[in-house]
C-alpha cells in the first residue's frame, strides 16, 4: 500500500510540474539558408560586341598601331562557401596569327558591395583559361555598365616573325569569361 502511495505521489508531482511548465518565455529555431552563387555577365553602354579596327601607319616602314577598347564591364554576383575563393578567368576561341589580343581589368568600382579580389596584369589571350581577377569572395557589383570590372582590350601586332603571317581580313573572335566555382 505504501508502495502504491509513493507511485501516486510521483505521478502527481510530474503532473503538477507539467501543468506549470508554461512560463513567460519561449524560444524557437530559425534556420537561415544561403545558396552558393556564381553569376557573371558582360555589360556595356551599347553593344557587347566590340570592334578593334587596325589602322595603317602614316609612314611606310612603321608597324600597325595598337587599338584599344574599354567599353565593357563584367558584372558579378558571388556567394562563396566558408572556405572558398574565386577567380575570373578568360579565354578566346581562335587566336589570330601575327596579332595579340590582350585584356586587363581594373580593380572593382561601382555601387555594389563585397570582397572583390585583385585584378591581374595584362593577359595575352589564348584558347586556355587565364586568370583576369583572383581571390574574389562574396559580393554583388550592381548591375549595368559602370559597375564591376572595367576591361581594356588591346589589339597589338606581334613584333616577331609571326607578323609575316598577318592577313587583311575581318576576324570574329569569341572571348569567354568565367567566374570559377
Amino acid at each position: 500500500m505504501k508502495h502504491i502511495n509513493r507511485i501516486l505521489l510521483a505521478v502527481l508531482v510530474v503532473s503538477i510540474s507539467t501543468a506549470y511548465s508554461q512560463s513567460n518565455t519561449d524560444n524557437h529555431q530559425v534556420s537561415i539558408v544561403i545558396p552558393e552563387i556564381a553569376m557573371l555577365d558582360i555589360e556595356s553602354a551599347g553593344s557587347n560586341d566590340i570592334s578593334l579596327t587596325m589602322v595603317a601607319p602614316t609612314d611606310a616602314g612603321e608597324t600597325i598601331a595598337d587599338q584599344t577598347d574599354n567599353s565593357l564591364w563584367l558584372n558579378v554576383t558571388s556567394i562563396v562557401t566558408s572556405s572558398g575563393t574565386r577567380d575570373i578567368s578568360v579565354k578566346l576561341d581562335n587566336a589570330i596569327t601575327g596579332l595579340d589580343l590582350k585584356v586587363v581589368s581594373l580593380d572593382y568600382s561601382g555601387s555594389g558591395f563585397g570582397s572583390w579580389g585583385t585584378a591581374q596584369s595584362e593577359i595575352i589571350l589564348s584558347s586556355t583559361d587565364q586568370i583576369l581577377v583572383d581571390d574574389l569572395r562574396s559580393g554583388y557589383t550592381f548591375n549595368g555598365a559602370g559597375n564591376g570590372y572595367n576591361l581594356t582590350y588591346t589589339a597589338s601586332p606581334q613584333a616577331d616573325a609571326d607578323f609575316g603571317d598577318l592577313v587583311a581580313n575581318t576576324e570574329n573572335i569569341t572571348v569567354t569569361y568565367t567566374l570559377t566555382l
Binding site: 524560444n27 530559425v30 534556420s31 537561415i32 544561403i34 545558396p35 553569376m39 558584372n75 554583388y140 549595368g144
Partner: protein
C-alpha cells in the same frame, strides 16, 4: 389548571418580549448576515510560440535573376505568440526578443502585427521592425491584462525576414542551414 394555562401564556409573552428587546439592544437584523470574501488574483505572465505546423522555420535566401544584383531577401509569417497576462495595478509589460548568435553579413529582422484573434484584453502597441541582436529589444510595448486565445491565428503574428548587409557582404558564406535560436519574453 386554568391558572397553569394563564401562567404558561404569560411566560411565552415574556420570552417573546425578551427576545425582541435583546435584538434591539444588540442592533442586529435577524434576517441578514454578512461575511468577507477575499478575491486573490495572481499576477500572470505566460507566453508561448505557436504555428500551424512546426515552430522551427527556415528563411531561404535566393539567387538574383541578374548578375550584379544582391541576394534576394527571405520572409516567413507562420509564427504567432500566445499570451496570458494579468498585471498589477498601474503596471504594463513588453514582449521582448533576442537571438543567441548573430550571423555575419545577414540582418535577421522581426516585426509583430497588432493583436488579432479570439481573446480579450489590452494588447499594447507593436514596435517598428527590429534587427535582432543578442540583447532583448521591445517587440510589443505597453501590454496589460489579456488572453490571446490558444494556437496559431491568435495573438501576435510575427513577420521574419533575412536581409544581406552591404557593409559585410564580402563575409557572407553559403550555408545549407545556419541555426539561430530566437527567444521571446513577456516581461514581469
Amino acid at each position: 389548571m386554568l391558572n397553569n394555562k394563564k401562567i404558561s401564556i404569560t411566560q411565552i409573552k415574556a420570552v417573546f418580549v425578551f427576545v425582541f428587546i435583546t435584538s434591539l439592544l444588540l442592533g442586529k437584523d435577524i434576517n441578514h448576515a454578512s461575511h468577507t470574501v477575499s478575491i486573490i488574483i495572481p499576477k500572470i505572465a505566460l507566453l508561448d510560440i505557436e504555428s500551424e505546423s512546426t515552430n522551427n522555420i527556415t528563411l531561404q535566401m535566393k539567387s538574383p535573376a541578374e548578375s550584379g544584383d544582391k541576394l534576394i531577401n527571405a520572409t516567413d509569417k507562420s509564427i504567432w505568440l500566445n499570451v496570458t497576462s494579468v498585471t498589477e495595478s498601474g503596471n504594463a509589460r513588453d514582449i521582448t526578443v533576442k537571438l543567441d548568435k548573430p550571423m555575419q553579413g545577414i540582418d535577421i529582422r522581426v516585426v509583430s502585427n497588432f493583436y488579432t484573434g479570439s481573446g480579450y484584453g489590452k494588447w499594447g502597441i507593436p514596435q517598428p521592425e527590429i534587427s535582432l541582436t543578442q540583447h532583448d529589444q521591445s517587440l510589443v510595448s505597453n501590454l496589460r491584462s489579456g488572453i490571446t486565445g490558444d494556437g496559431s491565428s491568435n495573438g501576435f503574428n510575427l513577420k521574419y525576414s533575412a536581409h544581406s548587409i552591404d557593409s559585410q557582404y564580402g563575409n557572407i558564406n553559403s550555408t545549407n542551414g545556419r541555426e539561430i535560436i530566437v527567444t521571446y519574453t513577456l516581461t514581469h
